[in-house]
């Protein structure tokens, strides 16, 4: 796997977020835009993930989240996440990031307390899982930048489709 210097990556992401704030002038819009950017990354990234990670197919949602947390985060961010806080039905869980390379050096200025700085990650997860027929909702629930003690991404399963041919025989 090719790697790049993590500081370059961190600073580049920082300038993107900052530029978005200057351009859009509204924090909720910025969060939305970051999510969309992440989504667009995710739908492409999943192919790379499947091609290079050599993992077997996931059996259920629990399995998928483990793969995202342990293999996905390791591959693309060089960190891992823990999957915790399952609800009884097994449709909601939290990814707790041990260390988040995106937020090195960052200190949110006043007036940006609503900013979900790493919202791009949510988009990536949502986009990637959608491509393998798992629809999820993803939200950055806790963020160390906003004073929480850990980084937590809340995942909520909406539907899990089985693989189906996109065409019919008689078409």
């Amino acid at each position: 796997m090719e790697t790049i210097n993590s500081e370059i990556f961190t600073l580049m992401y920082g300038s993107i977020v900052r530029q978005l704030i200057t351009d859009l002038e509204d924090i909720t819009e910025v969060n939305k835009q970051l999510d969309t950017m992440g989504y667009n990354i995710g739908v492409r990234l999943i192919d790379e993930f499947l091609a290079k990670s050599r993992t077997a197919a996931c059996t259920d949602f629990r399995d998928s989240t483990e793969k995202v947390a342990k293999v996905g985060f390791r591959m693309f961010l060089n960190t891992t996440a823990n999957v915790t806080n399952w609800n009884p039905e097994g449709t909601e869980c939290s990814l707790v990031l041990e260390d988040n390379p995106l937020t090195d050096f960052v200190e949110l200025p006043e007036g940006c307390s609503k900013l979900k700085y790493c919202n791009v990650l949510c988009g990536v997860i949502r986009g990637a899982l959608e491509m393998v027929n798992v629809q999820v909702e993803c939200d950055f629930a806790k963020d160390t930048l906003r004073g929480d003690e850990l980084n937590e991404i809340r995942l909520k399963l909406i539907s899990e489709g089985t693989e189906a041919y996109p065409f019919k025989d008689d078409d």
Binding site: E7, L11, Y13, G14, S15, V17, R18, D104, F105, V106, E107, L108, P109, C112
Partner: protein
């Protein structure tokens, strides 16, 4: 002049704009009615020292310039980063080694500030955590 020691730290940016200022004496936060005239004098001495710094930058390749100027009991030590940001410390006779260590640690903090994507270079440093960290460094390195 206020009783006790003098210890003021400033960071001066491009075009001699001060971007950070902190009174690092341990009592600074408690004293409400600080002697204004002493404050003005300190500012004045620091400002005057900038000329001395500008001269001495070119005499050495070190970033640490040691003591650059003095006025009665007040001494000014300076440290100039590669990007010509000037760190000035106004004191009344701290040991050079301690000051050198202080500047080195402050430089690390300053670098962190510069790396923050939300910080615009050459603007006022307002983050309260920076104040705290620099105060902590002063406490350990300068026994303030």
């Amino acid at each position: 002049m206020a009783a006790g020691s003098v210890l003021t730290f400033v960071i001066v940016g491009r075009d001699d704009h001060p971007i950070f200022e902190a009174d690092l004496t341990s009592k600074a936060s408690e004293v409400v009615n600080r002697d204004d005239r002493a404050q003005y004098l300190h500012q004045f001495v620091l400002h005057a020292a900038l000329d001395a710094v500008d001269e001495q930058i070119w005499t050495t390749t070190n970033m640490h310039l040691a003591q650059v100027d003095n006025f009665n009991q007040l001494r000014v030590s300076a440290y100039v980063t590669a990007a010509q940001m000037k760190f000035l410390l106004l004191h009344d006779g701290k040991s050079e080694d301690a000051i050198k260590a202080f500047f080195k640690d402050v430089y690390e903090v300053y670098l962190k500030v510069m790396m923050n994507p939300f910080f615009t270079p050459n603007t006022q440093i307002t983050s309260p955590s920076v104040h705290q960290r620099i105060r902590a460094i002063a406490k350990t390195q300068l026994k303030a």
